[in-house]
């Protein structure tokens, strides 16, 4: 553990943190733009050309808004809620392999901050803690809408986590590892998991929408019924944190979808290009971002296409449709693995 290594990890972590924040910032602009286009409007285009300064203006506005706290709120938990949500949203990016490795002077620098051998488990652990931010915020607000939103978020998270984990278990069974970098390396070239796990992918992406509290599963914030759900009583940058965390979660979820099912930084014919290892890594990094952007777009596309589910429909879908399907998927995967081993 020499000084060089610490500096490299520190720089990498900072860069990834920065990228996550900037991407989330511009995802808010993209969301509004795309919402506009889907509705035959133009979206924000006044702050800078194509509205590129809009996120800055929005952020600035949030900073200057009145910091409001309900009199009956639990002060400590009220502040802890958004902080926790933000922190947890940013934690996941540590284990995602953003690219292969760069080799300088014979030393290999991996583009993954922490290549822990239980990466998949870590991501799910962090995702599950994510609901605590919402739960605490909703509880501390001492508002019935906030509390209903928080309870909804909790039950929704638990319901969809099961199906999501089951979808992932099929991937883990196939690749025989929990390490994300290992899973990505096994999808070298065009040998992506989506070809083997189409059902698993559909289940995973549906559950990812639910876990991110995105439309059509945005019942915890559900403006029409719950005003703003868990963030009803929040204002200023605390609200900003909640909204921002949603976009970071979206970014991370897209990255997870790309990592688990679409080969991460791998792209077709990467071995036939005859490029050096470093060049491939850099191209792979951009390819990975292209994939993430696509899934980010899908997130928005879904939001502006599908209406929100009713709460009983949401629960029925989670428990009675997605979970059995995920179990069937696990069984089918197991069956094929057995066939492969015995032939």
């Amino acid at each position: 553990m020499d000084g060089n290594y610490i500096i490299y990890k520190f720089v990498l972590a900072s860069v990834i943190l920065l990228i996550s924040l900037v991407v989330a910032m511009y995802a808010t602009l993209l969301e509004r733009k795309i919402a506009g286009f889907f509705q035959d409007r133009l979206g924000p285009n006044r702050a800078g050309i194509y509205g590129i300064f809009q996120p800055l203006a929005d952020g600035l506005k949030l900073f200057f808004k009145e910091e409001f706290m309900p009199g009956s709120a639990d002060k400590f938990l009220y502040i802890l809620g958004p902080s926790l949500t933000m922190m947890i949203a940013l934690l996941t990016s540590a284990v995602i392999p953003w690219g292969d490795s760069l080799i300088f002077n014979g030393v290999e620098y991996s583009l993954q901050v922490a290549d822990i051998n239980v990466g998949v488990l870590y991501v799910f652990a962090i995702l599950s803690i994510g609901v605590y931010g919402i739960m605490i915020g909703g509880w501390a607000s001492n508002n019935k809408y906030a509390l209903i939103g928080a309870v909804r978020a909790a039950s929704q998270m638990i319901s969809y986590e099961l199906a999501m984990s089951m979808a992932i278990i099929a991937i883990v069974m196939m690749s025989g590892t929990l390490s994300l970098s290992e899973i990505v390396n096994q999808q070298h070239g065009f040998n992506w998991n989506i070809w083997y796990q189409p059902l698993g992918f559909v289940l995973f992406i549906v559950c990812a929408f639910a876990e991110c509290n995105r439309a059509p599963f945005d019942l915890p914030e559900c403006e029409t019924e719950l005003i703003g759900g868990y963030h009803t009583e929040y204002s200023s940058m605390k609200l900003g944190f909640y909204l921002f965390a949603e976009y970071i979660n979206m970014f991370i979820s897209s990255a997870m979808i790309a990592t688990l099912y679409f080969g991460g930084y791998n792209f077709p014919f990467m071995d036939d290009l005859g490029l050096s290892h470093n060049a491939l890594t850099i191209i792979g990094f951009f390819v990975f971002f292209l994939k993430i952007s696509f899934f980010g777009f899908v997130f928005m596309w879904v939001r502006w296409t599908l209406p929100r589910f009713r709460y009983d429909q949401l629960m029925r879908l989670g428990w009675k449709n997605l979970l059995p399907l995920a179990l069937v998927n696990v069984i089918i995967t197991g069956f094929f693995i057995m066939l492969k081993h015995h032939s």
């Binding site: 286009f37 889907f38 509705q39 035959d40 596309w301 879904v302 502006w304 296409t305």
Partner: protein
């Protein structure tokens, strides 16, 4: 469609509603979702309906009822005689005025012996119905095809004579709102209930 089939239907656009059970394809919901995706995606490339307001302005009718103008006569004298009929006619009570008597040396400024020394229209109250214009016996007030611009202060929406009276060298054309037909129509006392 024959008359018999129409019995009980108020329009010919009504649809028969069925409560049949959904088929399997409908129940799995995915084909419908994909179809919806197609529809929304096609909207990405459709012509946008937005009009970029300050740069592009939507064409408005020549007889548009917008900002008011207080007309002068051919010799540049104010036509308004502060009779108060416009204020009386105004359903939103947006008009106030203070009347004054014309001095001998003001003959070239005001047409009548009595004139409005203060004439204010509160554009936040105004509903641009045009009843003031209709009530005016002196053809002094007209609505024009300019839009009342937005402002930061409520007080800035109260337009006084400095804004309302047309400049002598820059007359406002209201002929479109005052066609001969309209004039004749207004003069016809038998038709006054239609105005």
């Amino acid at each position: 469609m024959s008359a018999n089939q129409n019995i009980g239907l108020l329009t010919n656009r009504s649809k028969v509603v069925s409560v049949k059970k959904m088929t399997f394809m409908e129940r799995i919901y995915f084909p419908a979702i994909i179809k919806g995706f197609g529809i929304t995606f096609s909207h990405l490339f459709k012509k946008k309906v937005t009009i970029q307001y300050p740069e592009v302005k939507r064409p408005i009718a020549e007889i548009y009822r917008g900002k008011h103008v207080l007309k002068r006569d051919d010799e540049g004298r104010e036509r308004c005689t502060a009779c108060g009929l416009c204020a009386l006619a105004c359903p939103a009570e947006a008009i106030t005025m203070v009347a004054a008597e014309r001095k001998p040396d003001e003959m070239h400024l005001y047409r009548e012996e009595k004139y409005a020394s203060v004439y204010e229209i509160n554009n936040l109250r105004c509903i641009f119905c045009g009843l003031c214009e209709e009530a005016c016996p002196k053809e002094a007030i007209f609505l024009t095809n300019t839009i009342v611009p937005s402002n930061y202060e409520r007080s800035d929406f109260i337009y006084g004579k400095d804004v309302l009276v047309e400049p002598v060298d820059h007359r406002v054309d209201v002929s479109k709102r005052q066609t001969p037909e309209v004039l004749n129509f207004k003069k016809d006392k038998n038709q006054s209930h239609n105005i």
